[in-house]
């Protein structure tokens, strides 16, 4: 960080320049965040409120969107609803007010769970394999090292649809289509390039002298790797893991083409949440909110390493 200037430096921006800069940036930030706030707000609207004209900014919040997200409902006659015992839960009550009865859980829960399994599974594998490969690329003379590193990166340049054609055929003949294992392996392969490039950068920054000192003390190369390098690289490994998780979490093209029922993740599912007469926007927004919040938290956590992650380690601060 060389950008921090001293208090009375000649290059210190003048006070009014700073104020204008702050104003413009804050206005941009508010505009940029508006669609996200709108998602959050729509999640707490009733379906009629969500499609009112003009759009409602002030409304009385309800959990109907979240109830609809997790349940399926059927329309019933008022006589039938009146004949039922009193509503047991809030969602029950909301459904009955709309002349409906909860028929069962929706598919959102399982889809979200699939996202978690596939996300964490592929992240673990990619980081595990990536750490090993990155260490080797960082410390040893590997024949054709630059070519191999470029090969690892070039796998990211394929349009996902182009990769999906043969993967679709391959998985069909191996029985891997629409399975968790198949998706985990695929996302691991896609994430590996990122993991290797990022981790190599992080491991390059750990001085070799640390391991050499440990090896003089009687550690083997492998022990030095486990006991000296890994703890030193732990921040980098954690940052890399979050990047891999975010990719797997957000991935859409492979998920939509290669999964249908069992292993479908949340991104292809959320847009097809349908209510009566079109998309149930509060439910979609509720699903989107639950799906996006972990990423918002991770982004804040990752702030320091963000630049590195999005440029494959090409730019470091």
């Amino acid at each position: 960080m060389t950008g921090l200037s001293t208090a009375h430096s000649v290059v210190e921006p003048r006070r009014w320049t700073r104020r204008i800069a702050a104003a413009v940036v804050i206005i941009y930030a508010l505009i940029a965040i508006l669609p996200l706030l709108w998602i959050f707000m729509t999640g707490f609207k009733t379906p009629p409120d969500s499609i009112s004209y003009p759009p409602k900014i002030v409304f009385s919040p309800t959990l109907e969107g979240y109830c609809n997200l997790f349940t399926t409902r059927t329309r019933q006659t008022d006589e039938y609803i009146a004949s039922l015992p009193p509503a047991e839960s809030l969602c029950d009550q909301i459904a009955r007010d709309r002349h409906m009865v909860i028929a069962g859980p929706s598919k959102f829960g399982p889809r979200f769970f699939n996202s978690v399994i596939i996300g964490f599974g592929s992240t673990f594998l990619a980081v595990f394999l990536g750490t090993l490969a990155a260490y080797a690329f960082s410390r040893f003379k590997v024949p054709l090292k630059d070519d191999l590193m470029f090969f690892v990166l070039s796998t990211r340049m394929m349009p996902p649809i182009a990769v999906a054609i043969p993967i679709f055929l391959m998985y069909r003949s191996l029985g891997l289509s629409d399975t968790h294992l198949g998706m985990i392996l695929l996302y691991t392969a896609v994430n590996l390039s990122l993991a290797v490039w990022l981790l190599k950068g992080f491991i390059d920054e750990i001085p070799r002298e640390y391991e050499e000192a440990a090896m003089i003390d009687g550690y083997s190369r492998f022990q030095a790797f486990i006991k000296v390098v890994l703890p030193q690289a732990s921040t980098g490994i954690a940052a890399t893991a979050i990047f891999c998780l975010i990719f797997a979490w957000n991935e859409y093209a492979f998920a939509v083409l290669l999964t249908s029922g069992r292993a479908q993740t949340a991104p292809p599912f959320i847009p097809i949440i349908i209510g009566e007469g079109g998309q149930d926007w509060p439910a979609v927004a509720a699903g989107a909110t639950l799906f996006l919040i972990p990423i918002v938290l991770f982004t804040i956590l990752l702030r320091q390493h963000l630049l590195r992650g999005i440029t494959f380690g090409a730019v470091r601060k």
């Binding site: 413009v24 940029a32 508006l34 340049m157 649809i161 391959m170 990423i295 702030r303």
Partner: protein, 311 residues
């Protein structure tokens, strides 16, 4: 007895690993990665190349496979639909890059003034790019609805145009811009972050020297700031270029290529050919052409980038 063996195993394994030479470790550490990439990236690529020379159709796996030579490639290159999707892709690529560079660089310059609270606002601005393009893209179709949509409402508030008089997604004139707007909203922070790193890499003493020489602010920008940030900007263009050339999820959820095929990017067209019309051989040829284009362009670009860096 069993327990003893179980207790001894890790030790034996550790013993064996301890004895490994550096060379063996290098080999064992790299091999799984390379094998997985071979199995899931390279083998499929070779298979795609093979399929591109055949008339294979994935929905009729038992049909007799016929070797058609370069006919698929000729058909792709003579297909006016393909050229139209490439033109749509070029329009999308060109405008998103121009807008994102201008806005992103501008924001970076402003944030670099280090006003109070700039860290917080930077994080806020960064949020859109980390989120799922499919989920967010889908929600933008809601924002773009005439009347009930927030986007139309805001435009109408500032310009006085009736919010129900224009449809961003439904109209032939506006749809190409609808996808440019959402992509710019999503990815401007990416360019901003890279430019910010570029700006922070410029040492203060250069500006101090310019100040001593009485160089104007304008002159300082053109002679110091821009040339020093240029390699970073070019890197941002490379990454955005590759990503937007492959663009699929955001636009599929926004417009799914419509109306008609006005916003049908290359990836969306490829998906239709491969997974709706099941012309596997033909779409494999198209996929290879796309891949070679990106790969070739990226290689040439990286050479140019290195030359700029060396200056």
């Amino acid at each position: 007895m069993l327990q003893q063996t179980a207790a001894r195993t890790p030790e034996m394994l550790a013993h064996r690993l301890r004895g490994l030479s550096d060379r063996a470790i290098a080999w064992w550490f790299i091999a799984p990665t390379i094998l997985l990439l071979l199995a899931i990236n390279i083998f499929p690529l070779i298979w795609t190349i093979y399929l591109s020379f055949t008339n294979y159709r994935a929905n009729r796996p038992n049909q007799e496979l016929e070797w058609v030579g370069l006919r698929n490639y000729a058909r792709v290159l003579n297909d006016s639909d393909v050229w139209q999707t490439l033109q749509v892709t070029a329009h999308f690529l060109c405008w998103t890059i121009v807008l994102q560079m201008l806005i992103g660089f501008g924001l970076a310059l402003l944030i670099n003034k280090q006003f109070k609270g700039h860290g917080f606002w930077t994080t806020v601005i960064l949020l859109p790019m980390m989120l799922s393009p499919a989920v967010v893209g889908n929600f933008w179709t809601f924002l773009y609805q005439p009347q009930i949509g927030l986007f139309n409402q805001i435009i109408s508030f500032f310009t006085g145009i009736d919010p129900s008089s224009f449809e961003m997604i439904g109209s032939v004139q506006l749809a190409p811009w609808a996808i440019v707007i959402v992509d710019t909203w999503m990815w401007t922070p990416y360019v901003m972050l890279i430019c910010l790193a570029g700006l922070r890499s410029i040492p203060d003493y250069i500006y101090e020297a310019a100040e001593v020489d009485r160089a104007s602010q304008w002159r300082q920008f053109w002679s110091i700031t821009l040339p020093m940030v240029l390699p970073f900007l070019m890197l941002a263009i490379l990454f955005r270029g590759i990503e937007n050339f492959k663009m699929f999820d955001l636009v599929v959820e926004l417009t799914s290529g419509g109306p008609g095929s006005i916003t049908e990017l290359a990836s969306i067209n490829l998906k239709r050919e491969a997974f709706e019309k099941w012309r596997t051989g033909y779409s494999s040829a198209f996929a290879i052409i796309l891949f070679v284009t990106v790969f070739g362009a990226a290689n040439i670009y990286v050479k140019a980038l290195n030359r700029v860096k060396q200056r």
